[in-house]
């Protein structure tokens, strides 16, 4: 028994170290590198602790590029994609897991199978379709696509939370004469709040990181999202690593900030909400 605890302790320490190195160290290195001088970044003798410190890369990206335009576009697109995804997935999850209807298993699985159609396949037909209905170069185009990619999984993520809500509470409310709408807004949504927070963040991230469609459906500079804008400001024939690294850090910063405030709901919502 003692031997097993001891072994477990070694395993735990080992895996903590591995996780730190693989999943955290790259961020440390990238962030510190973005403050290094250009010479030090490309030097053949690589440094872990920076020897130089400069803000030039950040100055360049903040003051010489359309970074803030891209940022605002990404925020708008991600926010609305998230908002619409929440409404659609909460509604669908309620129908699927609270109401039950003929064919609900089929619908549940079909939703997951949506991912069987690779984005690459949909790319050009969607471009042609959106051109016909004048949706190219609009936020709406990106929102439509992001919702498509985010919702199927979001509905499944909500399942566990909806199942936790005791049917008795709902039934009691109906007996008291509450309407379905009131039950949804007064009982279901508050009780499933941690789950909804989780899917909100999930949808936000999916939209925030989307690249392929954003690069094809948008051609105007003033509407580009951060990932696309970031890859456009890198020249074809030269790589300014410092510029690229500071851009990478800045492009991640907004989601990291968002996460700083609501991240704990995401993680605890995901991991603790589902306790039976």
């Amino acid at each position: 028994m003692i031997k097993e605890t001891y072994l477990k302790y070694i395993f735990l320490t080992l895996s903590i170290i591995i996780i730190l190195i693989i999943f955290f160290f790259p961020f440390f290195w990238i962030i510190t590198s973005s403050f290094k001088s250009p010479e030090e970044i490309i030097a053949t003798s690589t440094t872990i602790i920076p020897r130089s410190f400069t803000l030039e890369h950040y100055e360049k990206i903040l003051f010489n590029s359309d970074f803030f335009t891209y940022l605002i576009n990404s925020l708008i697109v991600s926010f609305f994609s998230m908002f619409i995804s929440i409404i659609l997935s909460v509604s669908a999850a309620y129908g699927l897991h609270k109401l039950k209807f003929y064919g609900n298993k089929f619908v549940e699985y079909s939703l997951l199978v949506t991912y069987a159609f690779p984005g690459v396949i949909l790319l050009i037909p969607i471009y042609l379709l959106f051109a016909k209905i004048y949706l190219l170069n609009t936020y709406i185009a990106l929102i439509i696509v992001n919702v498509l990619f985010a919702t199927p999984f979001a509905v499944w993520m909500l399942k566990a939370f909806f199942k936790l809500i005791p049917t008795e509470i709902e039934e009691a409310a109906y007996i008291d004469g509450a309407s379905r709408i009131i039950v949804i807004f007064k009982i279901i949504i508050p009780l499933a709040a941690p789950g909804i927070a989780s899917i909100a963040i999930f949808c936000f991230i999916i939209s925030w990181t989307e690249y392929l469609f954003a690069s094809i459906l948008i051609s105007t500079d003033s509407l580009k999202t951060l990932p696309v804008g970031l890859s456009a400001i890198v020249g074809q024939y030269q790589i300014d690593w410092g510029f690229l690294l500071s851009g990478a850090v800045l492009a991640s910063l907004p989601v990291i900030l968002l996460f700083l405030f609501i991240g704990k709901y995401f993680v605890s919502g995901l991991t603790e909400g589902a306790v039976k």
Partner: protein, 423 residues
Amino acid sequence: MNKILLFIISILFSFNALAVTNVTFWHMEGVPHRVDRIQTLIDEFNSANPDINVTQEVQNWGEIYAKAPASVAAGTAPEILVGIPDFTPILAEMGAAQPVEDFVAELDSKYGFYQKALDQYTYNGHTWAVPLWNMALSVWYRKSDFEKAGISPPKTWSDLKKAAKTLTKDGVYGIGLPGNKQLYTDQTIYSFMVNSGAEEIYNSDGTLRFDNPETVAAYDVYKELYQYSAPDAANWTWGEAEACFASKGCAMILQFTVISTYDSQAGGDADDLGVIQIPYANGKAHRAGTVSYVNSAMIMTEDPAKMEASKKFLSYLMEPGNYGRFINMEPGLFLPITEAGSKDSTYWDDPVVVKYKSQVETMLDNSTRGSLFGFTNGNTFTSISSISAQNLLAQTLQLTLIDGKSPSDAVTEGMEIMSEAIE
């Protein structure tokens, strides 16, 4: 009553006078200072021509091959699209790029295009784009490295092999050559093919003549030199090669330019930076040349007013006084494509160009001997797009560098792949 009528008429007329022709200008030069420079020129043009409104929209090289045809199909194409030769045949075949030989002839009589500039855009009886600037590969090195090693800059392939071998030492790769299936590798391998006399990919009847002893010789020397290249060269594009050179990890590289990186990230000692033309196969000095990419503008509108406005804008860019500033959006990278342009003082006045004047002169000189696979001596067929867009020269190279086939087997197999691609 009459007054009111007059007023209405005058308003109508003023609307008419204000009718503005919109021109959208797509290009792939997204680095912020390049965008700024183009915007400056556009602003000047727009204020001098109140009836025209040019706007620029920056695209990515990564997706433009998907996006431009899709935009034509959807009717959302720009009026002007900047591109490279590989790309024009596609848009010409789609009927999107308009023939511009008359316009180009007019510009030619004024500014004098370099003779080889138009080769890359003239086929099927028309000229399909207006050449804007040139880019050509050269060999870059540090003079001090050569002095220390006691060798002189290579002229022939055997000089080059010797230099690469001598310069390879602890932590330094003698020559940085890419092995990626990418445009950069197409360019580097073709620059060797040119110098061994394998410039032509097609016969004059449109069949391929890629599989020949000169091509094999080029692949052979490339393979030999590749052993002195960095281990991750199989995944290199231009930027990695340049970084390798700037950090002194590579003694020599083949590159369009290293000037701005060298200047900002490698100390910037202009006297130490050497540039020479690509070495030629032994005994083939008369073949000396390089690969060059003439970047150009396609006019994609059939509307007469828009076409006129587009031509006016392009003429404006080509005019000395504007032209130097235009291509100096990235000083030391883009080279003049016209005689007049290469004398334009706004080109030579740029501080970077002043500092690296001798290097820029060599680059410019090399570029006038540049050619591009599939666009040589009039033997041009639109199917070349399939070969270049799929980077089949580079793919053939990978057959020998990575799969270990002999250069001659690789070239034979490469030609089979190409034949299938151009069907």
